[in-house]
Subunit: 137 residues, 2 copies
DNA sequence: ATTTAAATTTTTAATTATTTGCATTTGTTT
DNA sequence: AAACAAATGCAAATAATTAAAAATTTAAAT
């Protein structure tokens, strides 16, 4: 676990307020990928006065500052995750909704290669695998 | 270009009405990936009485019947595309919005391998590359 | 320490994309 | 043709998100 979001805000010059600090803390302590609703519920437990509009604005601010990433998995609401050095993709259990993070360097390389082939510089990408857990025997 | 959507409906037992036939025709003749608005505009030129609710209902029906696929590219509205045998992924020009289709068998294989590694059967996946066109020299 | 200005938050209203309820129309069965 | 089902159009309802206005907090300047 690397820097907290609060530390990242400091080093990036993102101003912190009480509510932003709480949102930052909750996100930093979340090991899953909460959507705004879930995040709002968690911060509400710490300060019930925080409005959902602030949560929306803050995750957007953090995203624009490169502190969080937004995922738009199939058919659901946007989910947020702290952005750390180690990039990864996601494998989603279609039954339970569980999200597994993975990295595959080979796939990464091939993606870049595909973009190059068409004359593009790859600036972003999204890879999501949807799977069903195999019966363990 | 394979079967038209109308033919697919016949072979799959999806009932066709005048408006569905028009929507099917417009989709079959579209080589891009229209969103519902764009599709609605195109069908309106043929029959201005078709309502957007019908367009929504029809693309959903076609999707559930395995005739269309729905793409939820970053930050925009859902886009639809005719589903043919040849699966492919998408490279999106972040400046122009242009969408390029590509296939990379190696990536496909690796995806399956990753899912297996975590004990999953891959049932679906989404790979989108976002790129900026290189200056052609 | 007050005043002033700027930024942020809350509350509420507005938007956007999509879906649904319901009356009407169209199609099918008898 | 009457009766029933299915599909459509319209308008209202939802859901997620954003924006506007007013209130409050924070920071800066006197």
């Amino acid at each position: 676990m690397s820097d907290t979001i609060e530390q990242k805000c400091l080093s990036k010059g993102v101003k912190l307020t009480d509510q932003r600090r709480i949102i930052a803390k909750v996100m930093s302590e979340s090991s899953d990928h909460p959507n705004v609703d879930e995040l709002y519920n968690r911060v509400s437990k710490i300060d019930s006065k925080i409005s959902i509009a602030t949560v929306y604005r803050t995750v957007k601010l953090f995203e624009e500052s490169g502190i969080l990433t937004k995922h738009e998995f199939k058919g659901g609401k946007a989910r947020y995750e702290e952005l750390n050095e180690g990039h990864h993709d996601h494998l989603i259990d279609v039954k339970s909704g569980e999200i597994i993070e993975f990295v595959d360097e080979e796939i990464e390389k091939l993606q870049k290669k595909v973009a190059e082939k068409y004359g593009y510089n790859l600036v972003d990408h999204k890879l999501e695998l949807y799977g069903i857990k195999k019966k363990s025997q």
